[in-house]
Subunit: 209 residues, 3 copies
């Protein structure tokens, strides 16, 4: 009977986490929360009819925000970039102290082909503020994480931010991938999430002083 | 081995329930089933671009039906009303004997802020029929439930209808909320569901006689 | 403690399967993967407003692809065909050796009515190639499966292909249903999936020789 209760409680907790966007962790890069892709390397044309009708605004493909939305276990809910290296740059919903990032690809069991998954990755972040055009001083760009996306692990892989205390407040992240898992033509980003917390007033004062 | 079998059966049952719209209970207020929001207090403008392009039909905001659709664990899949008190009125898919209502807000673990959740609520119901313009005799309005949405409990909270036998057949429900969990500007309704059953012919005759 | 670990691992595996499109099995009939409905018997008009505005291309209703998309436990996410018998024909994403098919209807617990579920079914498949207009030699049509959709079982029911080795490479499947579970007016197809694997080069040579 104890076992039954225990099994039930494990199940309920796991399903709750699953129902809460899979991870049960706040995502400041969620499109529906106000985040948006602001730059990316060249998009790859999958030759789907409806793409021809769409125009590109400020160099950002209208489908780019697919990488800031849940995929619900469906192949194809991704944004494809040309070649095996490239980048995407995301304006977050709010200014945060970053704690971790999650890179997600389609699950192995339902994928037609996973050679388009990114492999070696680097995430950096900075505070862009309202100066959307100006160049950012490289001293103010924080390296948040370097990692390899592993096809043998869970399809949503979370990486803690290096030296979380050391990184300041950010509102923009950039993912650079330098390799993928074999596709010569393109690399697909299913979803990128950014976890963290809002700076409280005390630490905000410390930053400003 | 018995334990293994038991664990597996608990898991399967819980996942089946989760896969069946989270609760495994028929919802007569589901937009996709034909239910629709027919009146509401003033909508709150979240200042998202696309809202400016939308017109309001008969005083009902085009996004109002968001509260009659699944949220899939995503923040923002809600309809925001101005202030900390207000109401929504819903025409159900069919005439039913109501048994329970479920009010859902975004899950704690993925929410940016839950101060916009409704708090003190009252649900009433009546049979509107085809007289969509006429005023309903207050004697024919049933109080279905009064409850407080609790931020510490599961995000989808179900409340049984008071004296279910006493309430007659209804096709319309109204949610009045008189407070929320702290937001001065707006209150978000993620989803409202109405559970019950269709009157059978015997009870229909009893009602008509 | 062993039990705890076991319970947790069972749960994780089951949720992973659930998150992977419910079955954790590749679907070559997924709309998002490039599959498409190419023919069907007469569609049933559910008298929803937006259907009147849609035109029919090449005899295929614009909503037909609903049957090649996930339903996420929502009633109504189906394509309705007129009467209690009919057919649909689907061009798959790619040429495959078929292994199984899955027919899915809405879950019992959230359904308003399941009399529109298909009952006696037959699935056939063939290699259409680029000759989209030409008639197929009946000798080259494989009977993949004959089955009865059972309302008492899980809502997604998988049937293995008869004599899988015997069937050749296919790129098109056809579902014929000869009865449903009681509705005189229409039969709803929530989702049809086709599982299998791509022919490898060795077997491809065998086929061509
Ligand atoms: K996505
Ligand atoms: K919703
Ligand atoms: K569907």
């Amino acid at each position: 009977d104890e076992i039954r209760e225990f099994a039930r409680s494990v199940v309920e907790k796991e399903i709750e986490k699953h129902a809460a966007d899979g991870l049960g962790r706040v995502d400041y890069a969620l499109a529906n929360g106000g985040a948006t892709v602001v730059r990316h390397s060249e998009a790859y044309d999958m030759r789907r009819g409806n793409w021809f009708l769409m125009s590109v605004r400020n160099g950002v493909h209208p489908n780019a925000d697919k990488m800031l939305k849940p995929s619900f276990g469906e192949p194809g809910q991704c944004f494809p970039l040309k070649g095996s290296s490239g980048f995407v740059q995301i304006k977050l919903r709010a200014e945060i102290i970053p704690e971790a990032v999650t890179l997600e690809h389609v699950a192995k069991s339902v994928a037609y082909d996973r050679s388009s998954a990114p492999k070696d990755c680097r995430i950096s972040g900075w505070l862009q503020g309202r100066n959307t055009d100006s160049v950012i001083d490289t001293e103010k760009i924080f390296l948040l994480s370097e990692f390899t996306y592993d096809l043998e692990k869970s399809n949503a892989q979370t990486f803690d931010v290096l030296n979380s205390a050391g990184s300041g407040v950010i509102d923009t992240v950039r993912l650079d991938f330098t390799s993928n898992h074999g596709s010569a033509s393109h690399t697909c980003i299913y979803r990128l999430r950014v976890h963290g917390h809002k700076p409280d007033s005390v630490s905000m004062m410390a930053i400003q002083s």
